[in-house]
């Protein structure tokens, strides 16, 4: 693109060479990158060996070209269906519903869950106009048509949007005769009782457990 140098949103002086200004502007679009960070990253890349810069550019392109959403679980993947969905070691009777693909990484780190996942790609937020139709809810219902699934674990975030989503899904799924569960809520590891809010503390009390001998 041979566009003339525009004064960029990052406030870059028009005197900066056009390709430099353009890259600064591209970086500026990224979350958490302000004008100064965008400049710093650009000038760092400027001094980088061409091979490394090319590797970075290719990594971005490859990621965009090869990554799709897994058709059953909606997770990001380079093979469709994804490795979790095709793994025959996993329990196919349980689906854990999460908001974002990153939540799967967190749950997988625990090595405590061996079932399948479903990514909603968001949470219901009535005030922001995000309703069930904006999430992968229809896809979830589609998966539950087969009789393989016996339990759905609602693992949306324990905040207002996540709770609203879990309640909504609970309403939707209960008539299907499945076991619908919600992740427990309680005190975080390394937390202090005195700082706990009353919602968390109430739940922690309700979910108290026998102390093992």
């Amino acid at each position: 693109m041979n566009e003339p140098t525009r004064s960029t949103s990052s406030g870059q002086a028009p005197s900066a060479a056009a390709p430099v200004a353009r890259l600064i502007e591209e970086f500026h679009k990224l979350p958490g990158i302000g004008p100064k960070s965008a400049q710093r990253l650009t000038y760092y890349l400027l001094r980088m060996p061409p091979a490394e810069a090319r590797a970075l550019a290719q990594a971005i392109l490859e990621m965009k070209e090869k990554i799709t959403f897994c058709s059953p679980c909606q997770n990001v993947t380079d093979v469709d269906p994804c490795r979790i969905c095709t793994d025959d070691q996993r329990d196919r009777e349980t689906i854990c519903v999460v908001e974002e693909p990153l939540d799967i990484l967190a749950l997988e780190r625990t090595r405590a869950y061996r079932g399948l996942y479903h990514v909603l790609h968001g949470a219901i937020s009535p005030m922001d106009g995000i309703g069930p139709e904006d999430l992968k809810v229809a896809e979830l219902l589609g998966r539950l048509k087969s009789n393989d699934v016996h339990e759905v674990i609602l693992a949306t975030n324990p905040n207002l949007e996540g709770e609203a989503t879990a309640m909504y899904l609970g309403r939707l799924l209960r008539p299907l005769g499945l076991r619908v569960t919600r992740l427990a809520r309680g005190l975080p590891a390394g937390g202090d009782l005195e700082y706990a809010d009353d919602v968390t503390l109430t739940r922690a009390l309700e979910g108290r457990q026998e102390v093992g001998a």
């Binding site: 979350p31 958490g32 219901i124 009535p126 005030m127 922001d128 106009g129 309703g131 069930p132 219902l141 539950l144 048509k145 905040n159 207002l160 709770e163 609203a164 309640m167 909504y168 309403r171 939707l172 008539p175 299907l176 975080p188 390394g190 937390g191 202090d192 700082y195 706990a196 809010d197 009353d198 919602v199 968390t200 109430t202």
Partner: protein, 260 residues
């Protein structure tokens, strides 16, 4: 009221949005300083000591410090968490609707004690009310009144003659009732039954305890909801997002509406 550099206040959290990696901007509604946006640092981490106290629809005591662009939440203690709202999707969606309306109606940093206590009372009513929708209608009317947009239910907006006890029309654009004679000349009017007119006047004049004694047949409840909703959309010049979700919940309430 101009806020000092570091101050403590009671607040109801209206909404939150994400900021950066682990922060959020919370929209706080305070009685004295009005609507204030504040940055809450690190509240998206599970180890955060504040996140639970800053969930939307929580009444809390906050300590706010002036930051560069906006206030920063320095400390926070929940006072009232409205737990019954959080456990019932129908009540929750209505409470969120109320919070959204307050957020849209109020300008930033304008003292609004009356609206604060109205919202607080409404949230409490929504927790237990047998007819949460009625509590919401009352809230809508009072919010319109207190922000200066109360509809004129006494005189025809066309000919200024007193409204007769008959079927009239409601015109959001002209801000009140239009008599049958003038209705043809006014765009966007809807039929306003006599009972609905009486009910709207009741909401406008009576205290909640008095108004809530009325038993509403569903068609009448629907009618006043439609009128107030269209009037609010007209005043705000935009849709209220949470209303769409309430509608959806109602549609799906009919058993077996969803086929799998």
């Amino acid at each position: 009221m101009v806020a000092p550099r570091l101050y403590k206040t009671e607040a109801i959290v209206l909404r939150q949005r994400k900021l950066g990696e682990a922060d959020r901007i919370v929209t706080l509604f305070t009685p004295l300083y009005g609507k204030v946006d504040a940055k809450a640092k690190g509240v998206r981490k599970t180890s955060s000591r504040m996140s639970g106290h800053l969930q939307p629809l929580t009444r809390c005591l906050v300590q706010l410090a002036q930051g560069r662009a906006r206030e920063v939440v320095a400390g926070c203690q929940g006072v009232e968490s409205f737990q019954p709202l959080r456990e019932d999707l129908d009540r929750l969606s209505r409470a969120l609707y109320a919070a959204e309306l307050v957020d849209r109606f109020l300008p930033e940093r304008v003292e609004s004690r009356a609206t604060y206590s109205l919202l607080l009372e409404t949230l409490r009513r929504l927790q237990t009310a047998e007819a949460p929708d009625f509590a919401l209608r009352y809230f809508e009317m009072r919010l319109l009144e207190s922000s200066g947009f109360g509809p004129d239910l006494g005189r025809c907006q066309g000919c200024q003659s007193p409204v007769q006890a008959q079927q009239n029309f409601f015109s959001p654009q002209s801000g009140g009732v239009v008599c049958p004679g003038c209705a043809a000349g006014v765009a966007g009017t809807r039929v306003l039954s006599l009972n609905a007119l009486k009910l709207l006047r009741l909401l406008q004049r009576e205290a909640y305890a008095e108004a809530a004694r009325v038993r509403l047949p569903p068609p009448l409840a629907d009618e006043i909801e439609r009128h107030l909703r269209s009037y609010i959309v007209c005043v705000l010049e935009r849709d209220v997002n949470a209303a769409a979700f309430i509608e959806r919940l109602r549609r799906e309430e009919t058993p077996h509406a969803i086929k799998v």
